[in-house]
Subunit: 444 residues, 2 copies
């Protein structure tokens, strides 16, 4: 019997747990799910799955659970992974996550290798399926002798058209906080036509690219973090254009930019004087003083937008000009904005979310005089607010990787992300049976 310990039972856990439960009998697995809150699992999982109330900072409990496990999957917030990683390393247990590989975990690599363990990160959707689906095409193009001219890749967690009933065309299918502070992790970096390009946070939502996906219409993409890192990871040395980004419905970024410009997404300081303040007061605190102009007028003027702009429609719909109490005593601007958005962009019970991924490859075969453009896109719609496309596309790749690992079908050791064939071939193949299928279109 093999023991699987899943730490963290948040939004992406259900799809992961259910997949592992389906395969537990055949493989003789015992599944344990540990979190400080476990109520949300009620009715969603099998009785054979062990559920335990868990405190990550109870070192004894953490040690005891990890030592009993053959593999640990952490679905905790990324900042907490190192705590789990240290114990996994000490107790010689492999660790899988869907989060970005951290320097802290990378620094443990020598010891991880020495113990023959695998710490596999970025094994969800983005990062995760993006790596696997891109590498599958990139490896194929290379094998076919094509010279790559450009690689672009965009992903977005959005709302399905049938549940899309607000002017932002957006609802939360994952951590709202990450949406509010998106882009604040550092200047966006990429390379375009051989030129290094840098976009600071305050320009990020104004430097968008338009993308159209068959049957789904128009989207816009903004640059995501450091694309230059992927030159090495994807073996894209000397490729003139490498650009990764995040997708939203068109018009989102222009309106979101108002929050960025005014400082309403700032998470670096606490506003101490929120008691008794309304959302209208909150907005006003980022605008110049005027004895008679309304908050709306001051915002239009400061942002140089027309009163009848669709930006205004979006802002008004959110209720940022309302005299409604915020209900917080002290919070960062980002936390205030998150509170408002969490109410407005809530995925209602029967709402369906939608995950969209889009890659573009421009390449040329030796001797050809023209470039070829291949786009590869994925659209997955959720079933409802629990069985979301986001939970499915984050949880399933991780779950399949766990299965393959416990079956001895993954031979890699050390600290990895899923960019090599041994991982992406079987995982992408199995994901197809769950409707996670890329659509390739070639144009010249």
């Amino acid at each position: 019997m093999k023991n699987i310990l899943i730490i963290g039972a948040g939004r992406s856990a259900i799809a992961l747990i259910n997949y592992l439960e389906t395969h537990a009998g055949d493989n003789d697995w015992r599944i344990s799910v540990a979190d400080k809150e476990i109520k949300q699992l009620e009715g969603q999982i099998l009785s054979s799955t062990r559920v335990l109330k868990f405190d990550l900072f109870n070192q004894e409990q953490l040690d005891n659970e990890v030592v009993l496990s053959d593999i640990v999957v952490s679905l905790l917030p990324a900042s907490l992974h190192p705590i789990v990683a240290k114990v996994c390393l000490a107790k010689s247990v492999s660790l899988f996550t869907a989060s970005y590989e951290s320097d802290e975990i990378k620094s443990m690599e020598t010891e991880i290798k020495a113990k023959g363990l695998l710490f596999l990160n970025e094994m969800g959707l983005d990062p995760g399926i993006d790596h696997m689906s891109a590498m599958q095409v990139l490896d194929r193009l290379k094998e076919d002798g094509h010279e790559l001219k450009a690689f672009e890749s965009f992903t977005g967690g959005l709302v399905a058209p049938e549940s899309d009933n607000n002017p932002w065309h957006y609802k939360f299918s994952w951590n709202p906080r990450n949406v509010v502070v998106a882009g604040q992790g550092g200047t966006a970096k990429f390379i375009q036509e051989g030129k290094y390009k840098y976009i600071p946070y305050n320009r990020l939502f104004r430097r968008t690219e338009l993308i159209e996906i068959e049957d789904y219409g128009k989207f816009e993409g903004y640059a995501n973090r450091d694309s230059l890192k992927y030159i090495d990871r994807y073996h894209l040395e000397n490729v003139p254009t490498v650009y990764r980004g995040t997708l939203r419905r068109t018009g989102f970024c222009r309106a979101w930019n108002v929050f960025v410009q005014l400082g309403m997404t700032d998470d670096s300081y606490v506003m101490d004087h929120l008691e008794g303040m309304t959302y209208r007061d909150f907005v006003n605190s980022f605008l110049y003083y005027h004895p008679s102009d309304s908050v709306e007028t001051k915002l239009y003027r400061a942002m140089h937008i027309d009163q009848d702009s669709d930006i205004i429609h979006r802002l008004e719909w959110l209720g940022i000009f309302e005299d409604e109490p915020i209900g917080l005593k002290s919070a960062t601007p980002a936390q205030v904005l998150e509170k408002l958005l969490t109410e407005k962009w809530l995925l209602q019970e029967e709402d369906k979310d939608m995950v969209v991924m889009w890659h573009k490859f421009i390449y040329r075969l030796d001797g050809d005089s023209n470039d070829t453009c291949l786009t590869s896109s994925l659209v997955v719609e959720g079933q409802n607010s629990v069985n979301t496309a986001m939970a499915k596309t984050v949880g399933l790749p991780l779950a399949i990787a766990v299965k393959l690992y416990l079956q001895g079908k993954i031979t890699q050791i050390g600290v990895h992300i899923p960019t090599n064939k041994e991982l992406y071939e079987p995982i992408l193949k199995e994901l197809q049976s769950y409707g996670i299928v890329f659509n390739e279109v070639i144009t010249s």
Copy 2:
């Protein structure tokens, strides 16, 4: 005999040293000046002043010098003060600086008090003379029974009109790096008409206030750091407007904002690919890719400025569009910009700098039906690029405070800034004999 140890012999040191030298004979002082570079002092100081080549990280040397001293003055960069402060505390020696009081030094206060020492910070120009000159008026208004409605305070280190020969109307009279990263220390905070106001970095240089000073014309001010801190420090509780800022000549901020918007002042990441790049390439790396548009055109479009705007004139004058090699292999954007500006905004040998300070107080006497406005302004011009107004206005208050302290005329102990009468009265009075005189104008 009393020993004065001055650590750091940078731009502001000469005025400080010369003042102390003048008073050394009468007071039986021995002056030591310690720095890793001491050449710049040649010909500027008396032979009786001891000059020592000094390594701050040589703990033995630091310990030995501090223990011999009756007072230490640190003119080092602010981040290095805690190193000196720890030794001063251990050896029971008082410490004076012209830098902002740090949390690290504030945390030592209990011990400093227990030993009867005084750690006096913010004893230069800004911070320094600003505190003293503001508090003198504020205390007077309070004594006269006036109710304060608004307090605003602006300071700038600029270039004197007769040496002002560039379109930015600016030259460096202090650390260029501080000018490049100005405003990046956190969101600017203040209170206006009873409303808390926050300005993020990307809006800082667009939210300026116009200020006119008799005989010197127009200036513009942008918000400086956290003005809310001064409510407590200046005893301004319940004053509806408290605003502190930095002065530039009009038009500076609008043009500087281009650098801020494009990300050219970013100091948070290193550009690794600078080798062989020109300033034109540098600018281009912050602009969108276009197969044929020039760098100039792309910048105009991205910033929504007209080709004949005076912003363009300023940018062109700096040479940012020139194909001149940067000459750095790797550097942050801020470091690249600093290199260019240091060449262009250099104070030439015979150039005169200019320090400008401006306070505004709006108040009302009980029973009056109208507000009264009092402005208090200071303009000091330098003699040349060595005897600058900046060195004089930073160095002299510090020097006078050292004199008063060694003469036993300062009774405060603990960690302080010069906001109380015991300090500001004698110091401001003596500064007048050096031409540091405020001009008060009352309007109703």
